[in-house]
Symmetry: C2
Subunit: 291 residues, 2 copies
DNA sequence: AACTATTTTATACCGGTAGTCCAACCTTTT
DNA sequence: AAAAGGTTGGACTACCGGTATAAAATAGTT
């Protein structure tokens, strides 16, 4: 990921959020980013692909944040609220969600398929989390509950798009989660469900798990790029993380605890996106070995 | 409403449903309808306006059908299922709903506002119906229940867009309605709600109620256009309807019963849309006097 | 420092889009 | 028959996403 490319992405994102996807021409992006058309098409094969990159980035940010806040603290409905809040805050002022939808209904098949997979993976995540939070006995109803919760929340957001405070957001999320609990009780009592468990899983096209050794290398390389003031602690963290990663049975609790502050060292630095990508790989490894 | 204009609308609708809104150019519509560009822009100020007309028509069709099936039979959850089914079948094979969404996210403010009002009026209708079906005591929670039901159902439809049989549709609707009942019980028990009653009402910009006298005239005029084979019964119906309409206190039960077969005389006839519009006005009068 | 390879720039160009404009045409009213 | 007004076809504009390309700038290698 070129730094210049990141600059273009940021410019495009700014414009998309401000004026909408359809109302932003490539020329606008070129002007905003101060680049020429040729460069743009060096980075992206199309305007759509540029949009996909933006969404991919925000999905990654949300995933890492969710894993990080799960790393400290007990699991339960309150954590679920926080994790859902992450996605909503990601769509700053509900505008990113418009991009999602713009893509969904843009007649472009490739884009639609991509967004569908994003949607599905969000539902799969939610189904899994509901099972974790409310116990294995509700698993047969988790898929339906996830789908309905997603729909309810979507309505509460679309209906009041003027939410700035995360207080207001939390309030709605909590309300919807309590309703979801009622739905789970109701479905359990009557043993009614429409979807089978695991309905949303689409592991087929998910990328292969990165190798721990490879990730360990990347972490060390990243630490090398830190500025003097954070370099020392960064190297400490990185040394521990990479050593632990190459162990036979990594102590995942420790890894999770250390991973969070290490990643945060890169906040605001030019390679923040790269650091996030590497740590995202780390979290995937950790979660797969937890099972 | 010109007959030629209706012809253009039908052509556009066909193309939109088949290829999507974005993938249908005005030239396509011109070719399909066999008209010229000048004519098209005589009827509509833009492609968007053409789409709005199509949606307006389908909204009207759905409203009349809902009122008509309510006219015979007892009220209750089963009727509600049928009425909801009307809207879903209207969006034939889930494709019209894409038009809705295409409009919602098209960056065009005017279109968005229009669709928002359609959305709101659907929610207002649902809130009202829930109160009717489940009793006045749930009215404080009806707005929330309507919003959540709408969201849940939307997910179940979007998620399985390959539904052709209305059996399958009914099954999902019934499932969602049972969940809505659980939500209503839950909210009632805990006395929790986020929205106040009547939240979705937007009477401000709804057109003024048509005068009964005027509608009576239109009904007589319509009957005159019927072909010989249905002319006699049409005139009988029309005579009764218009006479009753001009009474001090119209017998609304009778009116409803007679209105249905009268409107159906125009099915398949060129002025079917016009007849529907007139009868739509009649239903609005009847419902307002029922209160 | 010189040479090479790659990236970036600027611009012309393509086919397609929504929408404008207008002179010619047709139909209805007078 | 004449006037009026809606209808027609098509030329036209401005813009879009995307392609092509030659010149300029930059980076990497020796």
């Amino acid at each position: 990921m070129n730094e210049r490319k990141q600059h273009v992405l940021n410019a495009a994102k700014r414009l998309f959020l401000e004026n909408g996807f359809a109302n932003t021409s490539i020329q606008n992006i070129l002007d905003e980013a101060g680049i020429s058309k040729g460069t743009f098409y060096n980075y992206f094969n199309s305007k759509n692909e540029c949009l996909i990159s933006i969404i991919e980035e925000s999905v990654e940010i949300a995933a890492v944040r969710r894993d990080e806040i799960a790393a400290d603290g007990q699991d339960g409905p309150e954590l679920l609220v926080e994790q859902i809040l992450v996605r909503l805050q990601m769509n700053r002022e509900q505008k990113l969600i418009r991009l999602y939808e713009a893509i969904l209904h843009s007649g472009d098949h490739e884009l639609r398929d991509y967004m569908k997979s994003v949607h599905l993976s969000e539902l799969a995540w939610l189904e899994q989390r509901l099972s974790e939070v409310y116990g294995e006995q509700i698993r047969p109803y988790a898929a339906d509950a996830a789908l309905m919760q997603f729909g309810m929340l979507g309505q509460y957001l679309q209906f009041a798009p003027d939410i700035t405070s995360s207080e207001e957001l939390s309030k709605r999320i909590r309300f919807v989660i309590r309703r979801t609990e009622a739905l789970l009780r109701d479905m359990t009592e009557n043993d009614e469900h429409l979807l089978e468990a695991g309905k949303f899983d689409i592991r087929a096209d998910s990328p292969p798990l990165p190798s721990p050794v490879r990730v360990a290398e990347e972490i060390l390389r990243l630490a090398d790029t830190l500025p003097p003031e954070s370099r020392d602690s960064g190297l400490e963290f990185a040394g521990f993380l990479s050593a632990e990663l190459e162990e036979e049975k990594p102590r995942s609790g420790l890894l999770k605890t250390v991973a969070v502050p290490f990643r945060k060292l890169f906040d605001g630095r030019p390679n923040e996106p790269e650091a996030r990508t590497v740590m995202s790989a780390l979290w995937r490894i950790l979660k797969s070995s937890d099972l």
